[in-house]
């Protein structure tokens, strides 16, 4: 009997410290697997899926209409024209939309803790953060980034940008780094929910609230607020600072030009801090119930 038991078993998987690259690849794959499950789960309620998608498209479309309406009474806002505002709107909404698509669900951490779902995630051989970010993933979240991309494309055709090689390069860098910065803000503030259940509201004001602020030129805000987005929560690196370079505008704070190229650095720093907050949160986790 004992011999047979040995034969019917797979060999014990080796515990080897995986390289950081392998860990990230596995996290991405876990996210992908979980997101695919959620997509199918949500599709099982097809009718409500279609309705939500329609509602989403209408709401996001109206969002930019508000900006256009503002320009019926004025030609510039804070010295910026409508196409320039379209550029800020498009980049900010695109970065937020993509971040929300990939990691936005992390904001439900407090609820996952209360219902015990996090415990279930923690006993699976996949990073809990990846599973949490994919929770309730739905393709209808593509609506926002799609609308933002459309506005951005329109603004690029309407703008008269002097395209130098660094400006051409800055554009994709801006979208990627903006997404990463928003992702870091989502994760960093969500981690607070390990200690403090109501932290979700703070997070919302920095993600959705922050994205709304970034849709307007930095010149319309107080200098202190703009400085806060450079040296505090680094939202200025999402689009304001690189936009100054691309649109050839003066910096209201008069910072060195290097800041306008520093988005990758800011994104890396923000992600590192968010990662540390998440790990500290997991160590402080007290379990569901009790």
């Amino acid at each position: 009997m004992a011999d047979q038991a040995v034969v019917t078993r797979a060999p014990l998987p080796a515990v080897t410290r995986e390289s950081p690259a392998a860990r990230v690849a596995w996290a991405v794959r876990s996210w992908w697997l979980a997101a695919a499950m959620w997509t199918r789960a949500i599709m099982s309620y097809r009718a409500s899926f279609v309705m939500m998608l329609c509602a989403n498209v209408v709401v996001t479309f109206l969002d930019f209409v508000v900006v256009i309406l503002m320009f019926r009474h004025t030609d510039t806002l804070g010295g910026w024209t409508l196409p320039e505002l379209g550029f800020l709107y498009g980049t900010s909404a695109l970065a937020l939309g993509l971040a929300n698509l990939f990691v936005g669900s992390v904001d439900a951490l407090g609820e996952r803790i209360r219902t015990g779902t996090l415990d279930i995630m923690l006993v699976r051989p996949a990073p809990a953060l990846a599973q949490l970010c994919a929770e309730r993933f739905s393709l209808r979240r593509l609506g926002r980034p799609a609308q933002a991309a459309a506005v951005l494309l329109w603004s690029l055709t309407a703008l008269d940008v002097h395209w130098t090689w660094d400006r051409v390069l800055l554009l994709p860098v801006l979208v990627v780094c903006g997404t990463l910065i928003f992702a870091a803000v989502f994760i960093g503030f969500a981690s607070l929910q390990f200690w403090w259940g109501e932290a979700k509201e703070i997070q919302n004001s920095f993600t959705y609230g922050g994205a709304t602020v970034l849709q307007y030129p930095p010149t319309v805000f107080a200098k202190e607020l703009v400085a806060g987005t450079v040296f505090g929560i680094p939202l200025a690196f999402v689009n304001w600072l690189p936009a100054l370079r691309i649109l050839d505008r003066p910096d209201p704070l008069g910072l060195p030009t290097a800041f306008q190229y520093a988005s990758p650095l800011a994104a890396a720093l923000a992600l590192a801090v968010a990662g540390l907050a998440w790990r500290a949160g997991l160590r402080a986790y007290r379990g569901a119930g009790g």
């Binding site: 009997m1 004992a2 038991a5 040995v6 019917t8 078993r9 797979a10 014990l12 998987p13 515990v15 596995w26 876990s30 697997l33 979980a34 499950m37 199918r40 789960a41 949500i42 099982s44 309620y45 015990g116 779902t117 415990d119 279930i120 923690l122 006993v123 699976r124 051989p125 996949a126 990073p127 160590r283 986790y285 007290r286 379990g287 009790g290």
Partner: protein
């Protein structure tokens, strides 16, 4: 080397309780308070104790969900909290109160996901799924969305999900909670098979003494986060079997009954409770009572798990 090793493991929770109107007081709850034990490969251990004893907290530390406050912990050669993902491939976990299955999707889809997440080789996956489907009678349920399953069916589905990747250890936190007698029997038969035929180490918590009696060869009783008993089932029997209770209803009030082989422990009007050694038959006691008193009705009570445990503590405290 033992499969599970704990060395003076502790876990405290700081809770803030209201003290007076505005003041809030910090208090330390020692959920696990110095556990030291080992479990060898192939054992089936019953882990029991009253509510709040620290059973779930122990399991959460053994699975890497919770980080211990102090002490050393090893499962299958791994520090659970530190290498949680690596450990997850070597263990199976079933929580009776929650499910790992995907609510809106057919049972089969949850298993397919497990195949990918645990990187189960195809032939192992097929062999394990076939065995679970047969033993747990899941064939007709595989294509049913989980939300349509009954509690018992879902529990069987969860058991299968926990075993597809050939885990070395299976932790079960109250796997029979809320199940009817038939479902409980199915779950127990399956667990026995898994432990005996596959050699999977099993650690299970329960409030149902029958689970322990039918499955385990070792029982650990904990209370206030400490082990108060660790050994074979004989001790459980010795403590549990030591006394059964005969409840008799007489026609009218009487002074405490006096019969050989039993003693009265409680009197309430016409009803009296008599304790007698449970290795003895109830028949002579009943006969003796019936011969001398106007007996109207009677029943025999088996000891409940809480009574058994309570008696064990008493012995630990004295001995």
């Amino acid at each position: 080397m033992a499969l599970i090793e704990l060395d003076d493991v502790r876990r405290t929770f700081t809770v803030r309780a209201k003290a007076g109107r505005l003041r809030r007081e910090k208090r330390e709850v020692r959920a696990v308070d110095g556990l030291t034990f080992t479990v060898e490969a192939g054992e089936c251990v019953g882990y029991i104790g009253p509510n709040g004893a620290g059973k779930s907290t122990t399991i959460k530390m053994l699975t890497g969900i919770l980080v211990p406050t102090a002490g050393r912990l090893r499962v299958a050669g791994v520090d659970p909290a530190r290498e949680r993902v690596a450990l997850a491939r070597r263990i199976g976990v079933v929580f009776g109160q929650r499910t790992t299955l995907w609510w809106d999707l057919p049972l089969r889809d949850s298993y397919e996901l497990a195949r990918r997440l645990y990187r189960i080789p195809d032939h192992r996956y097929r062999a394990n799924l076939d065995r679970c489907v047969e033993l747990l009678d899941l064939g007709a349920l595989l294509d049913t969305p989980v939300r349509q399953l009954s509690l018992g069916q879902r529990m069987r589905g969860d058991l299968a999900a926990a075993l597809l990747h050939d885990p070395r250890v299976l932790y079960l936190d109250e796997p029979t909670i809320g199940l009817d007698v038939v479902s409980k029997a199915k779950v127990r038969d399956f667990l026995r098979e898994v432990n005996r035929d596959l050699g999977t180490t099993v650690l299970l918590t329960t409030h149902d003494l029958t689970d322990i009696e039918q499955l385990c060869d070792r029982v650990m009783v904990i209370d206030h986060g400490r082990v108060v008993h660790d050994g074979g089932l004989e001790a459980l029997h010795a403590a549990g079997d030591s006394e059964r209770t005969l409840v008799v209803d007489l026609a009218g009030s009487h002074p405490p009954i006096e019969v050989p082989g039993a003693r009265v422990v409680r009197v309430e009007g016409p009803r009296q409770w008599l304790a007698f050694p449970s290795q003895e038959s109830a028949a002579p006691v009943v006969a003796a009572v019936a011969a001398r008193y106007p007996l109207v009705d009677l029943s025999v009570r088996e000891p409940a798990i809480e009574d058994v445990i309570a008696r064990m503590y008493a012995e630990v405290a004295i001995g």
